[in-house]
């Protein structure tokens, strides 16, 4: 098991392994996103209270969930960086931080677009909304620290420490609706035993979420792969790769 982990965490092996993985992921992603878009925009019934404006849920909820998930993925990378000094984790950390920031921004923007018709205001200083904003600042902090430090490895370790201190915010975002009485929707979807949402609305939402996840994985893989090439640019295998791809072009 550990051997396997070690094998795939070598930059070179990861590079070639992920190359085989990507086309498969893209295929599944395309299938899912087409299905979910159809379900979300056409087949799901309009909400009896909100009309069609509820359809923004299909962007808002997946982005909001991803904003938390990506942070947790970053936390996992951070542990690998600090404890095992895994190079791949260093690269992963810096590759996914901006994606997480963008999901967070998307959740904030779609949420406030949705909030206008629902609550009559773009923005309200309640716990859910504010802790999500704090999450954005945590992402930006990690990115700022990564950029402020010249040396890649030192930068990754410093950012990992920051990321781990910040992980306390994740439960706050998630439980804020229960701990404080806020404007924001309580758990609607995630109560799996009795989801308080119509099944025709729910299924596209869940597939959309999986599509978002795949999208995240694909984009991360691209970013990680190009970072690997820069990282290992002095090594023989990258040099071989470059010469062979040049040869192909001719």
């Amino acid at each position: 098991m550990f051997k396997l982990f070690y094998h795939y965490s070598s930059l070179r092996n990861f590079y070639f392994f992920s190359e085989k993985l990507i086309p498969f992921l893209i295929a599944v992603f395309l299938a899912l996103i087409i299905y979910s878009l159809y379900g979300a925009l056409i087949s799901a019934p309009a909400d009896y209270q909100q009309g069609d404006s509820f359809r923004i849920i299909y962007v808002h909820v997946p982005s909001a969930w991803m904003s938390l998930l990506v942070y947790m993925a970053m936390g996992l990378s951070a542990v690998s960086v600090l404890v095992w000094r895994v190079k791949l984790a260093e690269i992963t950390l810096s590759a996914i931080a901006p994606i997480g920031a963008i999901f967070t921004l998307a959740a904030l923007v779609t949420g406030s677009i949705w909030g206008k018709p629902m609550w009559g205001t773009w923005w309200e200083w309640d716990a859910r909304l504010t802790s999500e904003l704090v999450l954005l600042f945590l992402y930006l902090g990690v990115i700022a620290l990564l950029r402020a430090i010249d040396d890649r490895r030192t930068g990754a370790r410093a950012a990992s420490i920051l990321c781990l201190i910040g992980i306390v915010n994740i439960p706050i975002v998630h439980y804020s609706v229960e701990w404080w009485n806020t404007l924001h929707q309580g758990p609607t979807v995630s109560k799996f035993d009795s989801p308080s949402i119509h099944i025709d609305m729910l299924i596209p939402l869940l597939t959309m979420t999986v599509a978002f996840m795949l999208y995240f994985i694909i984009i991360s893989l691209y970013r990680i792969r190009s970072a690997i090439l820069v990282y290992d640019k002095e090594t023989q295998w990258v040099k071989d790769l470059i010469t062979s791809s040049k040869r192909e072009q001719i």
């Binding site: 773009w122 200083w125 504010t130 402020a148």
Partner: protein, 228 residues
């Protein structure tokens, strides 16, 4: 002295260097802005998230956040140039110190005043301010922030090279900033009740004119003194 074209181009080069220096440290550009936003979002937490309360204090709150963000940004104005000896080198280059002082103030305004004014727009709207009051807020911020940059530069030059100059600058400068804060905040809150706060805006404009004429001299002689 300032009118001669050689001096204008020197001024431009001095400002450009400072902006470039900050730009290089790409994240630096974001700090005053982030500080401003963070301070603004502290208020609803610490006071009361009720829209009505927030709205009636919005002008004052934004003014305080802007003032603090700008005060904190003053610290980096001379710090690295002094510790690296670059300030000494600039002085020895023979360029009139008046220009150096003016350039520092302009660069500070471009790098912190201007972005703060721009960011005040969405923040003010999120606090529920109306458009007329917003325009008064922006006008008062523009006049006020320029004055803050000018005065702040003089004080920054005075405390250059002292340990924890950052703290010192803020503490020395805040008393000067209080009148600006009062008139800026009063202008905005008056406008929220529909009044046109002419008197306050004229006062802010007057302070700016005073600052433009006096502070570059103060900065120049402060640089001179502190290098000795």
């Amino acid at each position: 002295m300032i009118t001669d074209t050689h001096n204008w181009s020197t001024l431009f080069i001095l400002v450009r260097r400072d902006v470039l220096k900050t730009w290089r440290e790409s994240a630096d550009l974001l700090y005053p802005i982030m500080f401003f936003v963070l301070v603004t979002i502290l208020f609803p937490f610490a006071l009361s998230p009720e829209t009505l309360v927030l709205k009636s204090f919005a002008g004052g709150l934004l003014w305080i956040a802007a003032l603090l963000a700008m005060s904190v940004s003053l610290e980096n104005l001379f710090k690295t140039d002094y510790s690296s000896g670059a300030l000494e080198a600039i002085v020895l280059s023979g360029v009139p110190l008046l220009l150096v002082g003016l350039a520092k103030a302009i660069a500070n305004w471009v790098l912190s005043g201007l972005p703060i004014i721009i960011l005040a727009i969405p923040l003010a709207l999120s606090l529920g301010i109306d458009t007329f009051s917003l325009s008064i807020l922006l006008l008062s911020l523009t006049l006020g922030s320029a004055t803050i940059s000018l005065i702040g530069t003089s004080i920054g030059a005075l405390s250059v090279g002292l340990r924890s100059a950052g703290m010192l600058i803020i503490v020395l400068a805040l008393p000067f900033f209080i009148p600006i804060l009062i008139f800026g905040a009063v202008a905005t809150s008056n406008s929220q009740t529909g009044l046109i706060p002419e008197a306050e805006l004229y006062f802010l404009a007057g302070l700016l004119v005073l600052a433009v004429t006096l502070t570059p001299w103060a900065t120049a002689s402060a640089i001179r003194t502190r290098l000795g």
